[in-house]
Structures are given as C-alpha cells and as structure tokens.
C-alpha cells in the first residue's frame, strides 16, 4: 500500500499548481478588464464547456482517489478483511487506555484499531516522528470506531487525539507507543 506521505505530497503539488494558476488568471483578468479592448458577448458554447469542465473536475477527484488510494477500498470494505493484528483501545476521562502488551506489527500487516469511548467524542490519530499524520478517525461514544490500516514503513509511531474534547483533552498524546518492524 502506498504510504500516506506520498498522497499528501501529490496533493500539495496539485493544489499549489492550481492555486498559482488561479492567482495568475485573476491578475491577468484584472488587467484585461481595465484595458482597452473589444468587449463582445461570449457564446453559449463557452458556458456549456465550463459546465462540462466543472462536472469533470468534481467527479474525477473522487473517482481518481477511490482507484489510486488503497486505504479507501480497505476502509469501505473493512468487514471483509481479516486483520493480522487487533488493537483494542479505550478512552475515558481524556486518557487512552492501551492494551497491556506493547503494540507491535510488521510492515504490510493489516492492523485493526478498535477504539471505544466511555464518555466524550475524541479523535484517534497515528503520527510519525516528524509529527506528520499517518491516519486518523473520530471516536464517538456509543458506537464502534474501527480503523484498519497497513503500515508501509518501519518505525515508532505516536497516538494522539485528533478531536477536541474540552481543554482537558488537548494534550492526549502517547509518544512512540506503536512499533512497526520490517
């Protein structure tokens, strides 16, 4: 499975290019509409082209990500997979309660994080050493919160709540509690 860093880098490049194009276009437009030139009315065909382009843009993003980002299929069909490792975690009073044994898995293993909240809505996120995010989900009380994930790189990973649960919960961080080996 492709590492989430690759997807983030791809998104960074794509959106940066898009933003630069929009900025340049608006600057060009501002200059042009205040310059002398032929006004004229644009044809209806242009409108049809614009609508078509917008539809393609809107739909193609989801089609592209659902076929290229592997965790989408795994996530939507997670009941069909047999995890290599199940990690049950409980959250209560702004504390993560981890299993007694250390959380370890191998690169390529399917790890199921099954997180239960006993009181508030929390978040569950896995982070790398450089603070970048691997993946996350919401942890809602009274419901099953399960995230199936395949780690692509060995190393130590940190668990952090990714949802605000009041001032008492803003530092819910357990450093380097997940170990992924080759």
């Amino acid at each position: 499975m492709v590492d989430s860093t690759v997807v983030l880098n791809g998104q960074t490049i794509a959106y940066t290019i898009y933003a630069i194009v929009v900025l340049l276009f608006m600057a060009w437009f501002a200059v042009k509409i205040t310059s002398n030139g032929k006004a004229g009315v644009l044809s209806d065909k242009l409108f049809a082209v614009l609508v078509t382009l917008l539809i393609i843009m809107g739909v193609s993003l989801h089609v592209a990500t659902s076929t290229t980002i592997p965790w989408v299929t795994i996530d939507l069909n997670r009941g069909d997979y047999t995890p290599d490792k199940v990690v049950n975690i409980t959250v209560e009073k702004h504390q993560f309660k981890l299993p007694e044994e250390q959380i370890t898995a191998k690169v390529g293993d399917l790890v199921l994080f099954d997180v239960t909240s006993e009181d508030l809505t929390y978040g569950f996120g896995v982070f790398r050493d450089d603070n970048t995010m691997v993946c996350q989900m919401q942890v809602v009380p009274g419901h099953r919160n399960d995230l199936l994930w395949k780690f692509e790189k060995p190393g130590k990973y940190t668990i952090r709540s990714t949802e605000y649960s009041g001032p008492a919960g803003h530092q819910m961080i357990l450093k380097d509690v997940i170990t992924i080996t080759e």
Partner: protein
C-alpha cells in the same frame, strides 16, 4: 478642515446623520456593529495566532479554547450576519421598489443579534465555556469541565441571535409577499414561489412562447433562497440550544441528566445538517447573489446566462440540504452510502454551482470592458479569487481517501475556511460596502483612496497568505483545535502570524478611513432615531 474637525464631523463635513432615513439608519447600524464585531474577531484570531507560536502570559489553555469557541461565532453572527442582514434589508426594498415590511422588526433584529453576540462572547470570556461551535455531544453538557451557569448564559446569547435571525427571515419573506398600501395587489404565494425557486420549471422546460416572466429579479431570488437556509439553520440551532439548556438548567437545580441517552452520532448528523446550512448553504447563495448584483451594477449590463444562474441558485439551495455528511467522513459508524453520496458526490455539486457563479460573474464583467478599477470592483475580484481558491480546497477535503489524512488538520481551517470567509466572503462584503457607501450616507466622500488601497492589498495578501501557511502546516500534520508547545510548526505559524497581522493592519486602515469619512459624531448619529418619518429608502431630493 483640521484633523480634529474631520475626526469629529467626517471628510469635508459632508455626512449629516440627521439627513438619513430610518431605512438608511437601519442598514448603517447593522454595518457599523458588524464591522466592530469583525474587528473583535480579528483581534481574537491574532491572539490565537500568537499563542500557536509562543505562550502569552495570562492566556492558559482554558482561555485559548474559550476564545476559539467565541471567535467563529462572533465572526459569523456578530460580523457577517449583521452586515448581510443590514445590506439585504436595504437592498430587498430597493430591488422590489416597495418599502420594507417592517422597519421596527428590522431594528429588533439588529438589537437581538448585536446583544446576543455580546452575551455569548461575554459568557465565554468570563466562564471559559468552550465546547467549540461544533458542540459534539456530550461535550456541551460536560459539567466536569464547564460551568452550567456560564454555559446557560452562552446558550442564551445564541438564542437571542437566533430570534433576531428569525425576525430577519420574517421580514424578508413578508417584504417579498406583501402588498404596500395603495399598490396593485400581488399574490404572496406566487411571489414566494418565484423567489424561492419553486417555479423554476416555468423558465427552463417550457417552450419560449409559453414561458412566464419571473415575478422577482435574480438578486431577490438569491436573497430569498439564502434566507430559506438561514431559517432552517436558525430552527436547528434553536432546537439544539434548547436541548443543551435543559441539561444545564437541570444541573443548576441539582438534577444531573448525565446518563440520559442521546445518541452522539445521530446528534452529530442532526447538528451538522443544520450547521452546514450556513457554510454550504446561505453563505454560497448570498455570495453568488451579491456577485451577480454587483456585476450588473458595476457594468450596467445584463447578467450573462441569467436563467442558468437562477437555476444554479436553486440547485445550490437543494444541495445545501444534502451535503452535511462530508463532515462525518472520519466517523467510522457513519453509513458508507451517506459518506459516498452526501459526503463526496453531492458535495462536489458545490464546485459546479459555485464555479458557475464564478464564471458568470467574470464573463458579465468581461462583457463591459474596459472598466474602471473602482474599490467595489477590486474587492469583488478579491472575493471571487477567495472562493476560487477555497472551494476546491474544501472539495479535496470532502473525499474519503484524502479526509483520512486531512480531517481536523489546519488544512481545512486555513485554505478552506479562512480563505473562504476572509478573502471570499469578507472581500465581497467590502465590495458591497464601498459600492453602497455613498448611497447609504447621502453622498459621503471617502476620506482616503490610499487607505482603501492599503486596505485591499493588506487584506488580500494577509488572507491568502495566512490560509496558505496554515494549509502547509496542515499537510505536515498540524491539527486544528489544539495547542503545540514544542514549536513543532513554528516556521508556518510565524509566517501565518505575520499574515494575520497584515489582516489586522488592513482592518485598522479600513476602520480609520471609515471614522474619518463619517466622523465620530456621524457614527454616533447613526444610532440616534431618524428625524424623517418615512418608509422610503432615501430622503426626498431637494
């Protein structure tokens, strides 16, 4: 004129508040208070920007999150709602060529929104009630962290704003449907159906010869359709407020309802359905309508593809009722079908509807070139740019794959939310402000064009820059709704802070320009009762 004279009486002493009609005063009151609340939200935002770089003595985590709770609500209700309500209560009668249904009700809306904002802001400031605007159950009723009394006052403030909002809704729909004294009788049902878009089939699918004329103009349709979402949102927030209030009052009287069952996920769906009617509903519809109006006023030309623009406004309204699930893509118990249909594909329609509004406005402007680069035009282009950047940033987030690594990061609150609100919405409102200023003030002369230019560039660069640096931090894993103490993202946060300071500077330049344009006496005079007894928008020409 001396500095003192200008400061007290405005540029060349032109602005005379005594010459204002009750309608002009109503609109200006909303705008002045909205601008002041925008300033408050900017200062709060700047405080949070600094705390994300380095702690400020006296501002602990509880205070930080209380600010974070009040900040968006002050920005949305105190600032944006006030300015939009003031503008539309004035523009609707202007566009329909009949008086507002009730100036009195309009003034009550103003008082309730202004006072309600002060009440919930004060409650958060004093009691540090801080469940954030998301109010994820059962956090708003978690009395181990928050005082039920502080919370009850906070909810009371929101309730006052909602009552003021519902009065605005009533005034808008009554104005569309009523017949003024002495005028030819209109059919209220037909007027409202045309305004809200439920007669759109008559213009699209009938043969040209059988098509009926629309009963209201396109900008009126935009105001009406945005107001439908405003009403639905106010009802949902009011109901939710009452629900939370029940828990608070019970707690205050010693009866804990802690174990009373409310399904947190169902609540989250319900609440986001209503809350999203602001961000993905009325804001987009009101903004599109304002773009269309400004484009036609600036150019003096008809709107390009007006019938499709009208249809797109209706589609946007219906879409806004069905997109809430993109806020729950990270909730594993949320049904997959809702995530895909509502969260991804219906949400993608916003790219289409807002994209159409973007292009229709640009092409209308293009059709009238060469145009003079007025303040209204330059801020309008800024507003268009803001949504051109922010809407695709949101669509990226509303994707099951990308949401897994972006949800609750600075990406969503930076390039999407803040660029949409600060650059897209606020610059559109500034455009309307600069356009309407001479009309609302009977010809007041802007004090300084140089300050208006500084306002434009500092706001644009500050808004886009702050969103960009927050977004970069988000892509590196920085969460929203938290504090980092180890300087993990200081490079991005310092740069975002510099841009935030530019935004504050832009606001101060604008505020100074407004004060020197209208004068302190003029600004105070706006809040005094009008000496003219008329329902007309403008005073009779002498």
């Amino acid at each position: 004129m001396s500095f003192k004279d200008t400061f007290l009486n405005g540029e060349q002493g032109i602005f005379k508040p005594d010459s204002l009609t009750p309608m002009q005063k109503l609109a200006l009151r909303f705008v002045v208070v909205g601008v002041l609340y925008y300033g408050l939200a900017t200062i709060e935002g700047m405080l949070m920007r600094v705390i994300e770089i380095t702690p400020i003595p006296g501002f602990d985590a509880e205070h930080f999150f209380a600010i974070m709770t009040a900040h968006p609500l002050v920005g949305i209700f105190g600032a944006s709602y006030s300015i939009v309500f003031g503008a539309f209560l004035f523009l609707l009668p202007f566009l329909m060529e009949k008086p507002l249904w009730s100036i009195k009700v309009g003034n009550w809306s103003f008082v309730l929104v202004a006072v309600g904002t002060l009440v919930f802001w004060g409650a958060a400031f004093v009691s540090h009630y801080a469940p954030l605007y998301t109010l994820y159950w059962p956090l708003p009723a978690d009395f181990s962290q928050f005082s039920p009394v502080g919370g009850a006052v906070f909810i009371l403030g929101i309730a006052l704003v909602m009552v003021g909002t519902l009065l605005f809704v009533l005034n808008i729909f009554m104005t569309i449907g009523y017949t003024p004294e002495g005028a030819e009788k209109v059919n209220p049902k037909a007027m409202l159906a045309s305004a809200t878009g439920f007669s759109w089939k008559e213009s699209i699918f009938r043969k040209k010869s059988k098509r009926r004329e629309h009963l209201v103009s396109l900008p009126v349709a935009a105001i009406a359709r945005g107001t439908v979402d405003t009403a639905l949102n106010a009802l949902i927030l009011t109901f939710t407020g009452v629900l939370i209030l029940v828990y608070m009052v019970a707690e205050i009287f010693g009866h804990s309802l802690k174990d009373t069952a409310i399904d947190a996920l169902l609540y989250k769906n319900w609440y986001w359905w209503g809350l999203d009617l602001i961000a993905d509903g009325l804001v987009l519809i009101f903004v599109a309508g304002t773009w269309y109006l400004l484009a036609t006023l600036i150019t003096g030309k008809d709107l390009y593809m007006a019938k499709w623009a009208r249809l797109a406004l209706w589609v946007e309204m219906v879409v806004s009722w069905t997109v809430w699930s993109h806020h729950l893509l990270a909730d594993q118990a949320q049904p997959a079908i809702l995530k895909i249909v509502s969260g991804e594909f219906v949400t993608a329609f916003e790219l289409i509807t807002q994209g159409l509004a973007f292009f229709i406005t640009l092409i209308t402007l293009w059709s009238a070139r060469p145009l003079k680069m007025t303040n209204a035009l330059k801020f309008l282009l800024g507003g268009l740019l803001g949504f051109g950047l922010a809407v695709p940033a949101g669509i990226i987030q509303a994707d099951i794959g990308l949401n897994r690594i972006l949800h609750n990061t600075q990406w969503i609150i930076g390039p999407h939310v803040h660029v949409a609100i600060l650059v897209g919405l606020t610059m559109t409102l500034y455009s309307a402000f600069y356009y309407l200023l001479p009309i609302l003030t009977n010809g007041a002369k802007l004090y300084s064009q140089k300050l208006a230019n500084i306002h434009f560039w500092a706001h644009l660069i500050g808004g886009v820059g702050m969103g960009a640096f927050m977004g970069m931090a988000g892509l590196k894993g920085m969460l929203r709704r938290t504090i980092y103490y180890e300087g993990e993202y200081n490079i991005y946060m310092i740069l975002a802070g510099v841009c935030g300071a530019l935004l504050l500077f832009a606001f101060l330049a604008f505020l100074y320009n407004v004060i020197m344009t209208l004068g302190v006496n003029g600004l105070i005079g706006i809040f005094m009762p009008s000496k003219l007894k008329t329902k007309d928008l403008l005073p009779p020409e002498k």
